[in-house]
Amino acid sequence: MFRSLRPRQTRDRVAREMCGSGLSLRGLMMPPRDQPSMWKGLKRMVRGVAHSTCQDWCDFDVTGTDVVVAAVADGHGGDKYFRSHVGAQLAVKAAIESSQQLLANSTADLRQLRGLVQNDLPHEIVKAWRAKVRDDMQREPFTSNEEGKLAAGERSLEAQLVPYGSTLLLALVSSHFIAYLQLGDGDILAVGTDQTVIRPIQRDPTLIANETTSLASTWPDRRTGRLVHEPWRLMKTHFHELGTEGEPPLLIMLSSDGYSNSFRDNSAFEQVATDILTALRSHGHEWVDSALDGWLQETSVHGSGDDISVALLHRRDATGPDAASRDKEDTAPPGGSNEVM
């Protein structure tokens, strides 16, 4: 097995030969275990002005040697989804843990990895989320007041999942691929090395007027009429091979819909990703981390009023060599109109 890093073209040729032979790529291009990941992460959640509890949750893990991962979830809120803030937390945990478990020490080749991520992972996430929800219900059974809010006559497990309803966004990055998964509203943006912003998963045009697909989505089985809980069927995925299909992006941003709903239009929102990248280059990771709270608060107050959560993965080389030593708090990043309509 090759251990040393080779020029990209040679690595790609070897990768194709090894894939064709069915041999695993793992270990070929991974950084040595004692060196930091090439990715850093940022996360923040702010409660919307109209809400008493933040329904969003987000997290990331860049310590893995097989894959780094970020996830955002948005609980539905309201009377019917009275535990959705918990559901969102459990969704993020389930997504991150399932991703790591599925891909840890995997010797699968790229074709198999694609299948694992796009077919197996959605099932695993839903299974893990259901288990966590069941555990939560056992620890904290529904009160009589909460029971009264369940759909009349519905006491099945599927019906009891509804109060925990949440969306889910997920990004996985390894040395060989990047994968995205989305269930429900929210946005996934990636900024390429050419500074263009792309959406790996296109917005679902049917998800309007605050209606969304959900981890709690059920529908009646056509034959039996019983409620069926298979939200993996509603998940959208995108798998991108690195090397043969291009360089990894400089920045990946997952955000709940409270963020994009705060902007006048799509291009005003997508500008967020390039502006943050510019800020990382100008001021560095720590500075952006300290500014995030204020940015999201201002956006929520003057925009949607909704909770906003953001999880970002950015390449270490995106911050530039001298950015960490600069601390220009009063210098505005280039670009970015701050007009409020």
Partner: protein
């Protein structure tokens, strides 16, 4: 604090649309006069609701229908600037055409993706005289038509409640029955304030959820106000 990332911020638009029956029967017993006064009187209360929900931009429009249907207030007008010009009664009850006119405006564009669920209030005292079902189908063929909060107020006992219930499309919400001016005023006030408030800050709703409405509609006034034998429509 350093400038935040991203372009211009904006509130989420919330379209509120009156569909007013201006057929000839509305000229009887002061019904159209009551409708005009009640909608005008509701405006300051709508402004109060809007100010309490600063992240929603309430934009009001209205359609009048009798012989055909026309925009009465065509431009989505911020509630802060909205005024009501009296409508007059005379002619048929072309409700289907009113729904077609509305359906056109619920296409995307002009409806923006980020809008809040629209609120549509249909006021009628009779039976449609055109193809109501075709108009309703056109409205419900638009995603925004389906997801709008649809409220109906039956003015007087001759109003076709079945048609109004079909328009509402939600078995949990019934047409409101106004049989005198006080009741009509009260229901117009409720629809333009309580329902508006609910639509201004709705929670998310899972697709395919058992409830037919993606905005929880609070119960209408249980005591619709005083009735008088001389004022019953």
């Amino acid at each position: 604090m350093a400038n935040r990332p991203g372009g211009a911020l904006a509130k989420r638009p919330l379209y509120f649309i009156w569909l007013a029956d201006c057929s000839g029967s509305m000229s009887v017993d002061g019904k159209i006069q009551t409708l005009n006064v009640a909608i005008r009187d509701a405006i300051p209360h709508m402004r109060t609701v809007a100010s309490e929900n600063p992240n929603a931009q309430v934009l009001v429009r209205s359609i009048r229908f009798s012989n055909g249907a026309q925009w009465h207030v065509a431009q989505p007008t911020p509630i802060e600037n909205f005024t009501w010009t009296n409508v007059e009664a005379g002619g048929e009850t072309d409700m289907g055409q009113a729904l077609r006119l509305l359906a056109d405006q619920f296409k995307m564009p002009p409806m923006p993706e980020r809008a809040l669920p629209p609120v549509v209030v249909l006021l009628s005292d009779g039976l449609p005289t055109d193809d109501f079902n075709a108009g309703l189908s056109a409205l419900m063929a638009e995603p925004w038509g389906k997801k709008a909060v649809r409220i109906a107020i039956a003015i007087g006992k001759d109003a076709d409640k079945q048609v109004l219930q079909k328009f509402i499309g939600n078995p949990e919400i019934k047409p409101l029955e106004a049989n005198n001016p006080q009741q009509l005023t009260r229901f117009i006030r409720w629809a333009s304030t309580v329902v508006l408030k609910s639509a201004s800050a709705p929670a998310s709703q899972a697709e395919g959820a058992s409830s037919s409405s993606n905005v929880p509609v609070p119960a209408p006034p249980s005591d619709p106000g005083p009735s008088s034998a001389g004022d019953v429509w």
